[in-house]
Symmetry: C2
Subunit: 209 residues, 2 copies
Amino acid sequence: MKFYDWGSAPNPRRVVIFLKEKDLDIKTIDVGAKGARLNDDYLASGAERMVPGLELNDGSILGEAMAICRYLEALHPEPPLMGVGLLDQAQVDMWERRADMEGIGAVGEYFRNSHPAFTGRGLPGRAETIDQIPELIERGKRRIDWFFEKFDTQIGNNEFITGERFTVADITALCATQFAIKVCKVQIPIAYGNFQRWFNAVSLRPSNQ
Amino acid sequence: MKFYDWGSAPNPRRVVIFLKEKDLDIKTIDVGAKGARLNDDYLASGAERMVPGLELNDGSILGEAMAICRYLEALHPEPPLMGVGLLDQAQVDMWERRADMEGIGAVGEYFRNSHPAFTGRGLPGRAETIDQIPELIERGKRRIDWFFEKFDTQIGNNEFITGERFTVADITALCATQFAIKVCKVQIPIAYGNFQRWFNAVSLRPSNQ
């Protein structure tokens, strides 16, 4: 197996952290090229124009972060990162998707529509020109705040997003938050103390170094 | 258990079809109110401001369509709708998410930003005013076409999206396509003959009546 990653993109980074938490040693290739683009080899490989990608032993490329994680979770169940038991698994599924849609989605909207290197590439995954839309910068910022607010409430006094165990919901929310802070230059508002405490703690995990 | 649905919204409709394919008889409640809004009881219930929701026996509400479907798939494995075996399950995961992001996402973008009843509600899930953005109408339309194109290629000569078995990937793509046609008034281009054949066939399933 080979894993295709791309720079600091938050979407594939979810899988990078997942692999480290599992202590899985899969050859990882950064498919970024100059100009903040995917390189020609990757685009010619038959993969979607998106990362992450997991090349399987038959040469096919499995895409979509949670499809990859769920596949690896079944092959390597320990430590469990997608819930234990049906109800816990359902909660992890639910909160991971919210972190994806509302966290990764928000930072992506802000970043893709504001960064000069992504002029004409307002959405990932297509070769066509997709104009940046200035209104989405402000909307993306608001969405990042709503993401912090919702997850601050969900975390409450818990150690992790769905309770006592670190899961893919934490991984996705962590990747969204790091991208918000480092790349979008958005800070966690002081009012969201639970979120800040959670972020400080999960940031220190060895898988995030 | 109770299931919370809302009119012709494509997101909860995925679960409605899933329940019928499984022949599961779960009490379903439409939580829509006048003015294309969620009703006050549902908003006060502690659910997210979103559908679908599955109320569990402890009164908590499980959200997010695939979290609900995966939970029910484990409780009621037959017929399998989320793949059989690890690799098939991964393919279904991958294509379901693409149908979600690129199909449901596209029709939602088009519809939320164009329909007069959704003025000030350009995104779901929040009580705040979120302005419609006219540029997203055109972008949504383009995304619908890209969705048709990608899935036309994927379907090829297969009966279903991931091969020989009807799955949640088909359900999500079906719900996106029906909403595109009935509500967004977008037709499947003639060039996408595989997609049209697939759509004609899956539309006729008893679960879709």
